[in-house]
Amino acid sequence: MDAILLQILNGLDKGGAYALIALGLTIIFGTLGVVNFAHGALFMLGAFCAVSIKAVLGLQKVTLSETETTAWGTPLEITQPYVEVWFGDLGATILDYSVPVSILIAIPVMLLIGIIMERGLIRYFYKRPHAEQILVTFGLAIVLQEIIKSIFGANPIPQPAPDSMKGMIDFGVAIGFDAGNVVYPVWRLVYFLFSLFVIGLVFAFIQFTTFGMVVRAGMADRETVGLLGIDIDRRFTIVFGIAAIVAGLAGVMYTPILSPDYHMGMDFLVLSFVVVVVGGMGSLGGAVLAGFMLGILQSFASMNEVKDILPGIDQIIIYLIAVAVLLLRPRGLMGRKGVMEG
């Protein structure tokens, strides 16, 4: 019982990440009609926003030691972050909170990246065949990740959560289990709540604003919206920017769970596509539902009890579910007819 509870919890934060990436992907599908293979790269760029911001905050004042030397004979460099030199303890706190702080900066940065991508490249591909969209965005994804690699290297870069969020919550005690049996890291809870918050924001935005109304209309029938005389180009740009922000924020907040490296976008790309398709192309609710569903089922499939009966099931569960869903429900859980079937 406690094992199952734990796996549900595990599924929630994983599902949160899947849902956030898939959400942006499906918005782009639905409104712009673009298959964006660079969406994983946006997630990765978000994560590297956090890395860069920590690097900037952590810019160090270097003094050469007069007495000590390194193992290879040069004088030892003594370093101290400038924020600490300037602000003392406050600086140390800012550094400690670099991941949450990154969110504030990642929003404009990702919006800018999204706008540049859309204006500079994606908009020329609205009417092009899906295969060409895939190729060009895939090329872009490779270029972006290689640029990141040449700047930051290939190894993962640790991004610890703030000290105050490193601990765990003992859920079990609250509902009658022994202490220490059902625990959940604070940061993962933060991530889950954060993802709910962002999903809620996106939904509210699309549901309750006039801008969102156009987006919804666009997802229902792209042709007609073009005829309404609305400046659809500008709105598409903003839609892409929003999708970029959502993916980027998912990346920023995920860094304490998964040390970012340049390749992480590709790893999430395939998964998020599966999530989008299982949820139903162009369906926001479907993406979120499928994200959490796959996250939780993946967690269950990884339990020893399950693996004993079906060896290797944890490796293929996501794909197995995708196949089953697509065969039983041709357009995914909540997809509509005619979207992306051509």
Binding site: V35, L121, A131, I134, L135, A141, I142
Partner: protein, 386 residues
């Protein structure tokens, strides 16, 4: 003029293709690609892409799981070597058949859906194959290490014919001709030529016309009395068999089969080869395969020392600058070049490299009446891939 039902320009195309293929070692050596392994890869991935193009280029079904058939072909071939004989003929026959069987099963299920749903289904099947081959199926696939020959393999047919390889590990040989090096390339090259011939026949046949119709308008096909699913499935199986053959040939020239051959990135690679060269064209996929393999093997090999030599004529400061700049794109940065190339091609040449060639040709032959003489099959090629 017709011979075997094919007109003169098709025969010229075919003979030209065969000559270029067989003369590969000379033609490609000035650009540093005239060594056996890369030539073999050109031929093998050419076959893979040709087959993929029959599915994607003609019917428009974008499969993201074709690497699975390549991998299955390789495993089959290595097992044939281990159990039966080191002769490559049975190995490639079995590889083609098993590739076909796998594609029949996966195709039958996946073709129940169209568009991106079809793509994701094929992707899911291929990823399952890959993940299982890497881990749980290790007794059959030897997992990460890859399936290799051992001295203790039974090789019953070789034993029956008194063939003894002694204490060394055998390599595949065609009645005494070792399938490594140039002979290996010629074996693959001949296979490529045969496959090209088959593809050419399919392209020009009523069947090929039906496949183009599948891509163009399935609704109309149905109301025209044609059953689209078996056409698409046949194309899927043919391309699966090509992939199986390519996988078998990989094992013939190098008897090792690794699981990563089946990963989605490998499936993506063949998609890129096809689109890069020009989906739906005859030559495009082979050219695309060559370009990508060339980048992978030659661009990745440039290191700083080589760059320093290349720019040695420049003054030292500029030399260092140029070396630093260039090294972003070669050596460990070869992926960057590849990514940028994809973008440039799609943005400026949506029909792939073949469209570039066509534009060049039109540039030089503007006076000769533009599009007039092209028959319908030719013009169908110029349609953008969807």
């Amino acid at each position: 003029m017709r011979f075997l039902g094919m007109n003169r320009s098709d025969w010229l195309l075919f003979i030209g293709f065969a000559v270029v293929t067989l003369a590969g070692p000379i033609i490609f050596s000035p650009i540093g690609a005239g060594y056996p392994d890369l030539l073999q890869k050109f031929a093998i991935y050419g076959i893979f892409a040709l087959g993929f193009n029959i599915l994607f280029g003609l019917t428009g079904y974008l499969s993201f799981g074709h690497a699975a058939f390549l991998g299955v072909g390789s495993y089959t071939a290595v097992w044939t070597f281990k159990l039966l004989t080191m002769n490559p003929i049975p190995a490639i026959i079995f590889a083609t058949i098993v590739g076909g069987l796998f594609s029949a099963v996966i195709g039958f299920i996946s073709l129940r859906r169209t568009g991106i749903y079809f793509s994701i289904l094929t992707l899911a099947f291929a990823q399952m194959c890959y993940n299982l081959a890497y881990s749980v199926l290790t007794p059959i696939t030897n997992g990460e290490t890859g399936l290799q020959l051992t001295q203790g393999d039974p090789r019953v047919l070789d034993v029956a014919f008194g063939r003894d390889y002694g204490a060394v590990l055998p390599s595949s040989d065609l009645f005494g001709i070792d399938m490594t090096g140039y002979p290996g390339f010629y074996f693959c090259g001949v296979m490529l030529i045969i496959c090209f011939f088959i593809t050419l026949r399919i392209f020009r046949s009523p069947f090929g016309m039906m496949l183009r119709a599948v891509k163009s308008n399935q609704n109309r096909m149905n109301y025209t009395g044609l059953n689209t699913r078996p056409y698409a499935l046949t194309a899927f199986i043919i391309s699966g068999m090509f992939a199986g053959l390519a996988g078998g040939l990989l094992a013939v020239t190098d008897p090792l089969a690794g699981a990563e051959r089946m990963q989605w990135t490998a499936s993506g690679e063949v998609v890129l080869m096809t689109i890069l060269g020009g989906a739906g064209t005859l030559l495009g996929p082979v050219i695309g395969a060559g370009v990508i393999k060339y980048f992978e093997n030659i661009f990745s090999a440039f290191n700083e020392t080589i760059l320093m030599q290349a720019y040695s004529a420049l003054p030292e400061g500029l030399q260092h600058f140029m070396v630093t700049l260039s090294s972003l794109f070669v050596g460990e940065g070869w992926h960057l070049t590849l990514g940028a190339l994809f973008m440039l091609i799609v943005i400026f040449l949506p029909g792939g490299l073949m469209e570039g060639l066509r534009r060049l040709r039109n540039l030089f032959t503007k006076s000769s009446g533009g599009q007039g003489p092209g028959n319908s099959a030719e013009t169908a090629h110029s349609a953008t891939p969807a």
